[in-house]
Amino acid sequence: MTDAPRLEKPRSQWRDVWVQFRQHRGAMAALFLFLLLAAFVVVGPMIWRIDPNFIDPDPVKMIRLRNRPPSWDHPLGTDQLGRDILARMMFGGRISLAVGTVAMLVAIFIGTTIGVLAGYFRRADGLLMRLTDMFLALPLLPLLLVMMMLFAEATAAVVGPRLGTFLLIVLAIGVTSWMHAARIVRGEVLALKEREFVLAARSIGTPARRIILRHILPNVLSPVLVAATLGIAAAIITESVLSFLGLGFPPDFPTWGRLLYDGIDVIRTYPERVIWPGLAISLTVLSVNYIGDGLRDALDPRIRGR
């Protein structure tokens, strides 16, 4: 109340958030960078129309095309089979970003659901939090490996090997990384539940389901959003770690993590094969993290006031 409100135009709070977000120079730069990267992988292949898996069937040509340094035909050069690295980077980026986004959505969905249920229903709390604790205590790497192995065939049979692997990786990452979101959401819900507007809704006779949908969920949106951005970053890293350990996507399915893993074998002769995907992953994760940081500031009313 100290700041007497201006009563002129009703501003949506997202505009406020945006205004605040724009103040965060790092986050703005990161957003710009991220959009650039996204454009590179989404729009790029429409302009640079080389099949990332194309190998010249003529052995003579193929041999001549191998391991070329950058040229006009191949701005980033070619790999050991004469495939165009630029095209592979674009294609790989698509997959990496898609993995990041979808895995994050999975994690956020599970996390939010469990967090809301645990926070709102006292009786479910103990059980769900034990579950969360248990997942937190499970060493995830072996778990991921096992999941990948267990379900690979099943999913591949249903949706085909490529989509199958994709879904599996995404699900595996999602299913093993929701705990953080669940904890945050639960904490928020516990606090929100004590807020008077929830009590007010109860006094009106709003049933629990609608209280959650109408009053709780919209208000946990900001922490969830922050968790989501950080989740994208984490998922991209996890995918590349899996690839690094040789357990991610198949090799004819280039992702940044996979390209980096393959590149490490030739790091001495062609260091750029490591540098390009490494840089792409790092920049993406960095920009997403920065965006998350900016969002956190922008969404935090305490900081926004300052």
């Binding site: 089979l81 192995m149 090799p251």
Partner: protein, 545 residues
């Protein structure tokens, strides 16, 4: 002079997990174990037997092998001592046989001792091995790094079920070899010291040996060739560009030797279609709808340029081959027909077989069915490059290819519950490498017998993964097992080899893979060997002064 050359540093990037070859049979374990434990006889670089603990190699000529081929008599060298100073006797040899054939022991090398009826020890120096029937090749037991002699006194308590938990003997076996274990860190590092009781008082030249594990082939090669941190690195299988660069490092050199390991594409003669009910998939009930036509198989082989594969994947560590048995020389068939790629010929063959591209989508079809195959192998960078290349060539002749790569642990794991093992072969073609132990290809050839086909009734445990079945072949294998004369044996093996490769193209050999290791320029008298362990003559190694 013994011990005058200080420390020898060896790198086995796949770290050593046990020194008892009977419990692991992992090449790395066998090889490092061979520094300590020795067999009666070993193989030299040419695949010839030479005596180690034995005084000489028994033959028909010198009477060591019985005329009816049912027994072989070994004589031990005089005055042999274990590293703890006790004498080596024929009882130790007999014990070794008992140890490995104990039904509960889970001996990894029990195949080496197959067919032995009994072992007699008429005196401390003499061992008589009696076979159940005539053995044309009686040198399987107690020869090569995979069948060393154990000390009875040390392993007596480790028979049968106790074998695995005998930690101390397994990690610090007492042996007759040039070195003895001083410290053993599982899967990490083994330190050894010169054996004071080694039979040649001048050897070994090195006082201690450190065998380090961990990392990968690239790092291993680099540690010898570039940074010089190690004297010798085993199995530095890296891609050719790297090989060239490392060689330029000037601190060492790559050494190679070719044996029997062949990277090949195996063709599934049965139908792996997922539409079939479980239990009938990839079984002899359903012949493969496409590959039953030999022309298609031949087209697949003709479309491949093996030279490119070698250049991309192996460099000095491989050479193109058309044979399943590329060595020893006397067994190798002189096939070279497949070495030049013939895309047009392949296309023509397909057309002859009725596969033409009627709808112009680049993929040939027949009776409204597209020629589309699944091509699986393990996760491994070289194999994936091969897959990509081969896929390109096959696409070129109008075959649609779907690639699949499987974790090697699963692929080779043999778990009957997993769909992805190489024996289940739920794919049309698969690629891996295989070889045979020692110099005798007979057991190897008998893998392709009709009764070795894996299937649900034998828990998918057969070795005939192609499901190849030809009575003529089976008959010829039988003939082989009854033939003792070397020249005749070689003739038969060549024929068998050609039946599988050139004639029927059931197996498409690609690359003859050699052993490929890195050796520091400061080490001398190293001789690469592809028939026994690479450390077979470690007692002779010296440091260049």
């Amino acid at each position: 002079e013994r011990g005058s050359d200080g420390e020898l540093k060896i790198l086995y990037y796949q770290a050593v997990s046990t020194l008892n070859a009977y419990l692991s049979s992992g090449t790395k374990d066998v090889e490092v174990g061979s520094l300590v434990l020795e067999p009666l006889a070993g193989f030299d670089q040419n695949g010839q037997l030479f005596p180690r603990l034995a005084a000489e190699i028994p033959t028909l000529e010198n009477g060591g092998v019985a005329a009816d081929l049912t027994s072989i008599t070994w004589k031990l060298k005089d005055g042999l001592l274990w590293s703890d100073g006790t004498p080596v006797t024929s009882a130790d040899v007999k014990f070794t046989w008992e140890y490995c054939t104990h039904p509960e022991g889970g001996c990894a090398q029990s195949a080496k001792y197959e067919g032995i009826k009994s072992i007699d020890t008429p005196d401390d120096q003499t061992v008589v091995v009696n076979f159940e029937g005539p053995k044309p090749y009686p040198y399987q037991p107690f020869t090569g790094g995979t069948a060393p002699i154990l000390q009875k006194a040390q392993f007596e308590a480790c028979l049968g079920a106790a074998a695995a938990s005998c930690t101390e003997p397994n990690s610090k076996p007492i042996g007759t070899g040039p070195f003895m274990v001083t410290d053993f860190k599982v899967n990490d590092v083994v330190t050894l010291a010169a054996n004071p009781n080694y039979r040649d008082p001048e050897k070994p030249a090195f006082a201690t040996v450190t065998v380090k594990g961990g990392g990968d082939a690239l790092a291993a090669a680099s540690a010898v060739m570039e940074t010089g941190e190690f004297d010798y690195a085993w199995n530095t299988q890296i891609n050719p560009e790297q090989q060239a660069q490392m060689a330029a490092g000037g601190k060492g050199q790559f050494v190679n030797a070719f044996g029997t390991l062949v990277e090949r594409i195996e063709i599934n003669m049965t139908d792996p279609s997922a539409d079939l009910p479980e239990g009938e998939r990839s079984t002899v009930k359903h012949p493969h709808p496409i590959f039953s036509d030999a022309r298609v198989r031949q087209a697949l082989s003709m479309a491949i340029d093996r030279n490119v594969l070698v250049e991309v994947g192996y460099g000095g560590a491989g050479r193109p081959t058309c044979n399943l048995v590329p060595a020893p020389a006397e067994y190798a068939s002189d096939n070279t027909g497949c070495l030049t790629q013939d895309i047009e010929g392949a296309k023509k063959l397909l057309a002859d077989a009725g596969w033409t591209d009627t709808d112009g989508d680049g993929i040939v079809d027949k009776d409204g069915k597209k020629l589309s195959i699944v091509y699986q192998t393990t996760v491994n960078p070289v194999r994936q490059d091969f897959q990509a290349l081969v896929k390109g060539w096959w696409n070129e002749i109008g075959i649609e290819v779907e690639l699949k790569s499987i974790d090697p642990g699963v692929f080779f794991g043999g778990d009957a519950g997993s769909p992805d093992t190489f024996q289940k072969f739920y794919a049309d073609v698969e690629m891996y490498a295989n070889n045979f132990d020692g110099t005798d290809p007979e057991p190897y050839m008998s893998q392709y017998l009709c009764n070795k086909i894996p299937g649900p009734d034998n828990q998918w445990q057969g070795e005939n993964v192609n499901r190849f079945c030809d009575p003529a072949y089976d008959a010829m294998v039988k003939e082989l097992s009854g033939t003792a004369e070397p020249a005749k044996r070689a003739e038969l093996v060549k024929k068998l080899n050609d039946m599988l490769t050139k004639d029927s193209n059931v197996v498409i050999p690609l690359v003859d893979r050699g052993r490929f290791s890195a050796q520091s320029n400061t080490i001398d008298r190293f001789i690469m060997n592809s028939w026994d362990t690479e450390l077979w003559n470690a007692q002779d190694w010296v440091r260049v002064k």
